[in-house]
């Protein structure tokens, strides 16, 4: 019951949040120096041609009109304007992200082509971070003070201190150049993505392991764990049912905070492993000052983050019954 209420409350907030964040994304572009109309018309265009492009894309209108057109596609371009001059997003809500100033292709298509591989790397990294991190943390907590604990704890500190892009470079150096196991650049296969995912997830694995260890140690010292033991529950039931379930709360919090960073990290590792994802598209177009593409990718990352956070919130409420009745 409470669970449903939480989900519904979140679902009401999310559109609001998205409107605020989308306005922010729009504003970033609007405040940026440089004239999109001039960029579109090209360096040799006359003042007159630039003006025509400006009017065709509604860039002469007040900010709020431009934002409305950008968000919902209304008011659209006037009847007599040739469509080949229109580049501005005609309603991102309707999936019209505009056209690239560089390739003249629809941006939504360009992004959709690049999105899957980016998502694959991110999700893989998240799975690795959660799985390996939990395992390491639990082992360290249960074997407190032994060599296993020591290795896992120090290893985690190294993981937290390693730049993901350097880790990726070292993987290529050893696995590709020295051992010849993998190609030095993305070969299009899914299994290859495990490597960038490990490099990307290393930091998060380490922080999950650290949090799991400290939170497990805290929980295992609590009265109810002692009670469970006294009741004669098996050690396994004590650890998995009572221990981990309660220890998970701070762990999920940490994961939740790191999802946005994970998306940022993907962008870097795409460059290291030459993966043609959304991140590499963003770089290519930043250099070419292809405004609407950069803006579109920015927006997609923001929306992905918001939904990832929603999922994490629901998971959080599922683990921690207290939240549901807040």
């Amino acid at each position: 019951m409470g669970m449903m209420r939480l989900v519904i409350r979140r679902l009401i907030i999310i559109p609001l949040l998205l409107v605020v964040l989308s306005f922010f994304v729009f504003l970033c572009l609007h405040l940026a120096p440089g004239d999109p109309a001039r960029r579109l018309a090209g360096p040799r265009a006359t003042e007159n041609e630039v003006e025509l492009i400006r009017i065709a894309n509604g860039l002469d209108k007040p900010v709020y009109v431009q934002y409305l057109r950008w968000l919902i596609g209304w008011p659209g371009p006037e009847e007599n304007i040739p469509l080949e001059n229109v580049y501005v997003p005609g309603g991102v809500l309707r999936g019209d992200f505009g056209r690239s100033m560089e390739t003249h292709e629809p941006i939504s298509k360009e992004i959709l082509d690049r999105l899957p591989v980016t998502l694959e790397v991110t999700v893989l990294a998240l799975l690795i971070a959660t799985g390996v991190g939990l395992l390491l943390g639990i082992t360290a907590a249960l074997k407190r003070g032994t060599i296993v604990d020591y290795l896992s704890t120090t290893g985690s500190l190294f993981g937290l201190s390693m730049p993901s892009f350097w880790l990726g470079l070292m993987m290529i150096l050893v696995l590709s150049y020295k051992l010849g196991w993998i190609a030095p650049a993305y070969d299009g296969s899914f299994t290859y993505l495990i490597w960038p995912a490990i490099a990307l997830g290393a930091y998060h694995t380490a922080s999950v392991a650290r949090m799991t260890r400290s939170s497990m140690l805290e929980v295992l010292g609590q009265d109810y764990i002692r009670t469970a033991r006294v009741k004669g529950l098996s050690e396994r039931a004590v650890i998995w049912k009572h221990g981990l379930r309660n220890a998970l709360i701070p762990i999920v919090t940490i994961l939740l905070l790191q999802i946005p960073w994970l998306f940022g990290g993907t962008v870097i590792l795409e460059k290291v492993f030459s993966i043609p994802g959304m991140g590499s598209l963003m770089f290519e177009r930043i250099i070419l000052r292809d405004y609407f593409v950069v803006q579109g990718i920015f927006l997609v990352f923001v929306v992905l983050t918001v939904f990832a956070n929603l999922l994490a919130d629901i998971l959080y409420a599922y683990i921690n019954p207290k939240v549901r009745y807040e």
Partner: protein, 288 residues
């Protein structure tokens, strides 16, 4: 004045927190690493064997007596560039962390002390920044505005403060309930004075801890951005920048990328050790 300082130092050095810190081997290791790095950064002109920007030898020479870590593609000494890189890295990192502190600490103090609507607004703003892909934001801003170091530092400053505001706010809530704050209020002291004289000094411990742990994050992020070609531009000696040049020569000159990366790892590790030790000594319950 000198005696008071030595007395103060002795008192600090023998306090329970300091004793706890001194017993922590990792923390001491961190302190040593950080000291060495700060020394290198300050005295780079004396520590580094060569000028970091001048061509001093053949291109891509392997490590030798003359060039301990070899030379890079422009015939510059790699070791000297790494040493000068500590200066660049620390300066950028400190600027970013400074921005986080300047924005986050006052907001946290105000939100925690006044509570109510102000608290609500500040913390909701902090939440929405949390739920934002920080790195993507910085990239988009530097792409849409002017690519360059200052744009990146400012964008990072804008995006990173919520953590600091949150930690400070949490501590303020604790401090606010203390008797000395209530006493000061009973005496009719102004809110501003109470915050500056009583609340802020008692929040210093967690602030020092999160800032120490924030510095390695700032260094990692800025070097990543330079690696991508968005921060520092060549020929400045900067680790991320050098890594991106070294990337193309990994097959044959593996020591170049390896040593530059290790410099980052050691620096970040040192600050993490130190920060962890400071937390255990000053504010063990702080979750970060």
């Amino acid at each position: 004045m000198f005696t008071t300082f030595t007395e103060w130092a002795r008192k600090k050095w023998t306090s329970p927190a300091a004793r706890k810190f001194r017993r922590n081997k990792l923390a001491l290791a961190g302190l040593v690493i950080v000291s060495i790095i700060v020394f290198c950064a300050v005295f780079a002109d004396f520590v580094a064997p060569y000028d970091p920007i001048e061509k001093v030898g053949p291109k891509l020479a392997p490590p030798s007596r003359q060039f301990l870590l070899g030379t890079d593609v422009a015939g510059r000494d790699i070791l000297s560039r790494i040493i000068y890189g500590t200066r660049t890295g620390l300066m950028i990192g400190l600027t970013v962390v400074g921005l986080w502190a300047v924005i986050g600490v006052p907001l946290g103090l105000i939100a925690g002390y006044y509570g109510g609507k102000i608290d609500y607004v500040v913390m909701r703003a902090a939440d929405s920044f949390y739920a934002f892909p920080q790195l993507v934001f910085v990239l988009a801003i530097s792409g849409l505005f002017r690519p360059g170091l200052d744009t990146i530092v400012i964008a990072l400053g804008i995006i990173g403060w919520p953590l600091y505001a949150r930690v400070v706010r949490g501590k303020v809530l604790e401090v606010k309930a203390e008797e000395y704050v209530e006493a000061a209020r009973a005496f009719g002291e102004k809110d501003r004075n109470i915050i500056v004289r009583h609340v802020f000094p008692n929040c210093l411990a967690p602030i020092i801890v999160v800032l120490t742990l924030g510095l390695p994050t700032a260094i990692l992020v800025t070097s990543a951005l330079s690696f991508l070609g968005f921060g520092v531009s060549p020929p400045t000696a900067e680790w991320g920048c050098d890594l991106s040049s070294a990337r193309g020569y990994m097959a044959d000159q593996w020591w170049w990328a390896t040593s530059v990366g290790l410099a980052i790892v050691i620096t970040v590790l040192g600050f993490n050790f130190l920060g962890d030790g400071l937390r255990d000594a000053l504010d063990p319950r702080l979750r970060y």
